[in-house]
């Protein structure tokens, strides 16, 4: 397990779990859950500074950007232009180029608008960004995004924040088989078994926020997710047994008394 690393845009990581930093009770609980998750990458959002309360708690005071890789996202952006504006500011705020692109198309489902996403991805790649892209689980669209130069493909398992788990395992497997860059399931994971399934399908990693943040005990769930991702990865590497239609005894039939 020690040597089972994965690499995105030239950066190598041991943990295959990426966690979000939204929806927690406070930054302290967020930091505790992050520690328990073993994650090395965290997604973060970029928002206006609260100028009327400059002393309010800051994310960077609880989650050290030197210890964890900040992955700025474009959550809440509905056009390619908004997403690009956000990520250029994020690069200025943090000084790095690894980003999560997410261009939404519908407020009810939070489904990504793939036409705008692809357009933004093409421009951001030319602009020097390493783009990890949130997308639908359409294998052809994922291929287009890879061809556009995206550093990682991140199809949804189910709608953002829904916790419904992997709705289309066939597509996730097809995307994994077809991709030469890392594939991570992003959004829709609800509990540990969902994360394990994603990894058993051959994904390089899983990204989640709500499943941990909205658990009754986020720190305990963070640990569960860590173990599930590791278990799913090991099972994928081990190669599962063939499924059979009928029973097959585990004890030898010879020598029965």
């Amino acid at each position: 397990m020690q040597n089972d690393t994965w690499t995105v845009a030239g950066r190598t990581f041991r943990s295959r779990l990426i966690v979000g930093t939204g929806k927690y009770k406070d930054y302290a609980e967020n930091a505790a859950a992050l520690e328990a998750s073993g994650a090395e990458i965290v997604t973060v959002a970029l928002r206006r500074v609260n100028v009327s309360d400059p002393g309010s708690p800051k994310l960077v005071d609880f989650i050290d950007p030197k210890k964890y890789t900040y992955l700025p996202n474009t959550a809440g952006c509905y056009t390619a232009e908004d997403a690009m504006r956000t990520l250029r500011l994020a690069r200025e705020a943090g000084g790095w180029s690894l980003v999560k692109l997410e261009v939404l198309g519908d407020r009810k489902t939070l489904y990504p608008d793939m036409i705008e996403t692809l357009r933004a991805a093409e421009i951001l790649v030319k602009d020097g960004f390493d783009v990890m892209v949130y997308c639908t689980d359409d294998p052809l669209m994922c291929k287009r995004l890879e061809d556009a130069g995206c550093a990682a493909i991140m199809p949804l398992a189910a709608p953002i924040g829904s916790g419904l788990g992997i709705q289309n395992p066939i597509n996730i497997r097809l995307i994994v088989e077809g991709a030469k860059v890392p594939v991570l399931v992003d959004a829709g994971v609800g509990t540990a078994s969902d994360a394990a399934i994603a990894m058993e399908l051959g994904c390089d990693g899983v990204l989640m926020n709500t499943a941990i943040a909205e658990a009754k005990d986020p720190v305990l769930m963070a640990r569960a997710m860590r173990l599930a991702v590791e278990a799913g990865r090991l099972a994928y590497r081990a190669g599962r047994m063939k499924k059979k239609m009928y029973a097959d005894p585990s004890s030898p039939l010879a020598g029965l008394i």
């Binding site: 979000g20 959002a45 500074v49």
Partner: protein, 66 residues
């Protein structure tokens, strides 16, 4: 003079650079990024960037997100 700061009217007295404003607001310069009239201002240029009547500033920082 009056500027727009994060979508709100903001009154400033005298000649004020971007560095002055960030300091007056009590913000840590290493934790913010600034857009002035839709153009990003590099951190190294805050001191030399004088604010003008009607400037639209966006001061942003990282917050929790998924």
């Amino acid at each position: 003079m009056r500027i727009q700061l994060n979508g709100q009217d903001h009154e400033l007295r005298g000649a004020v650079s971007l560095a002055d404003l960030v300091e007056r607001l009590g913000l840590d310069v290493r934790k913010v990024a600034v857009e002035r009239n839709l153009e990003i201002v590099p951190r190294s240029a805050y001191g030399a960037t004088m604010l003008h009547e009607g400037d639209r500033l966006e001061l942003v920082n990282f917050v929790g997100g998924g």
